[in-house]
């Protein structure tokens, strides 16, 4: 996504050995310090026991991974689509664009539905966050963020606030008022602070807590009122691009996916990484829980979407075709979990039969990459946002 990153090198006395050398700016226990590269290496080695080198660690890691795969393979006695053979195939799909929401001045990056099934919040590269009424296509609120690339936005469960963030490394909550003339930006509350861009955010079951994921490789749970960090989740070795909370009935877990090709399932209370899956061949752009809570789907830059079963602890389906060569940016399930909607970078949306693993429809309409796809809370429609500056409602 980012075009180029430049590494700025500072030169000066190292905080540790006091020699004048090129310095690396690192954070130790959240304090920024400057060490020269030699001291960083020495410090890293101190954390290891005698005899441990990168190679021994790697070898142990590989052997454990092989053991894990062996354990998982033992239970892989049948494929999902084989079990699904007895189920009736789906009929013909007729899905058309019913509404086109125009108004963003630049790429739409993210959107979310309100629980009232009719309002939508969307955010874009130009820094604007707009709340729409999907039935009438009217814009109800518009906020201009102080940063560009607002990559994450979420509607609060009560419908009274929206959260958004992006390159400003923060997640801010804006309470929505009924008074159209009120300046929303004045009421803004900064909740989360990361050391890199905010890639995704989501309210938990209440308006009081927000879960965020960031380019700094961590996810975090925050209290909205005080802005306090309640729990942080470490385990990814690269940017985390997406997260999704388990459906409320099934407990306190969430899944995250990132540029390290891993999808991790976390326990929100303990901060522990409970399960981890690494079968994708490229960055995982989006993760979504299955409506029953027993599985989750991922969309990735390797042009496939995959379904992972949490109880069987393995990947159980791959949704791909030789003709699809562009990455999948966003995925979502229909209400029953029978359909998987996936938006791709080749401007299309593919609809997959989750159980049989086949594609049931391909939807054209957007004129640039589809960046986000979300099914409405009552399942009557789904909305897609794209780099062509518009959002489309399909039903």
């Amino acid at each position: 996504m980012c075009d180029q990153t430049f590494l700025a090198i500072t030169f000066g006395p190292c905080d540790n050995c006091s020699q004048n050398k090129p310095l690396m700016n690192i954070y130790l226990k959240n304090e920024p310090i400057n060490y020269c590269s030699l001291c960083v290496e020495l410090m890293a080695c101190q954390g290891l026991a005698k005899g441990e080198t990168t190679n021994t660690l790697k070898a142990e890691s590989e052997s454990l991974k092989a053991k894990l795969e062996e354990e998982r393979a033992k239970l892989h006695d049948v494929e999902l689509h084989q079990v699904a053979e007895k189920i009736d195939a789906l009929g013909q799909f007729v899905m058309k664009t019913r509404r086109t929401l125009k108004g963003h001045g630049n790429k739409v990056l993210c959107m979310d539905w309100c629980r009232d099934k009719r309002r939508i919040v969307s955010s874009s590269q130009d820094g604007k966050v707009i709340v729409w009424d999907a039935y009438t296509t009217n814009k109800e609120h518009a906020v201009t963020m102080p940063c560009t690339w607002v990559m994450a936005c979420a509607y609060a469960p009560s419908g009274c606030a929206v959260a958004c963030g992006g390159l400003d490394n923060k997640c801010s909550v804006y309470p929505l008022s009924l008074d159209k003339n009120e300046n929303l930006a004045a009421k803004k509350k900064s909740v989360a602070m990361h050391t890199n861009y905010l890639s995704s955010c989501s309210f938990t079951n209440s308006d009081m807590q927000i879960l965020t994921s960031s380019g700094d490789g961590t996810c975090a749970l925050w209290d909205v009122e005080s802005g306090q960090l309640l729990q942080s989740f470490h385990g990814h070795s690269a940017d985390v691009l997406s997260l999704d909370l388990a459906p409320s009935e099934t407990g306190n877990t969430f899944v995250s996916g990132g540029c390290d090709k891993k999808a991790n399932v976390w326990d929100m209370r303990s901060g522990q990484n409970v399960q981890s899956f690494e079968t994708h061949e490229s960055d995982i752009n989006n993760v979504k829980y299955y409506p029953s809570g027993d599985a989750f789907a991922t969309g990735s830059d390797d042009a496939t979407c995959r379904l992972y079963d949490l109880r069987a602890d393995r990947e159980v389906a791959i949704y791909s075709k030789d003709s699809i060569i562009f990455g999948a940016s966003s995925v979502d399930f229909s209400l029953s979990g029978r359909l998987l909607f996936a938006g791709y970078n080749d401007y299309t949306i593919n609809v997959w039969d989750v159980l049989k693993g086949t594609r049931v429809a391909i939807l054209f309409g957007h004129e640039n990459r589809v960046s986000t796809v979300r099914v409405s809370p009552d399942g009557t429609a789904f909305c897609s946002g794209s780099w062509d500056n518009t959002l489309r409602i399909w039903a």
Binding site: A44, S61, D77, Y135, D309, A395
Partner: protein
């Protein structure tokens, strides 16, 4: 944060994680896949995108004329 960790620290983190995961309990795919299929079958009757919604009930279908909110 992951960006500030050296390779060795990242490997250590992954190693500890793998050691924990090998101990997880797992169920056979035949059982879990069947349960997923059954769950979907039960829910599919109520899924508007599968069974379709009659024109007059769907707020998104084009009606023409006025929409009274």
């Amino acid at each position: 944060m992951a960006r500030d960790m050296s390779d060795k620290e990242i490997l250590k983190m992954e190693l500890e994680q793998l050691q924990k995961e090998v101990k997880n309990t797992r169920e056979p795919v035949s059982k879990t896949a069947k349960e997923i299929c059954e769950w979907v079958e039960a829910q599919a009757a109520e899924d508007p995108l599968i069974k379709g919604v009659p024109e007059d009930k769907n707020p998104f279908k084009d009606k023409g004329g006025c929409i009274i909110t």
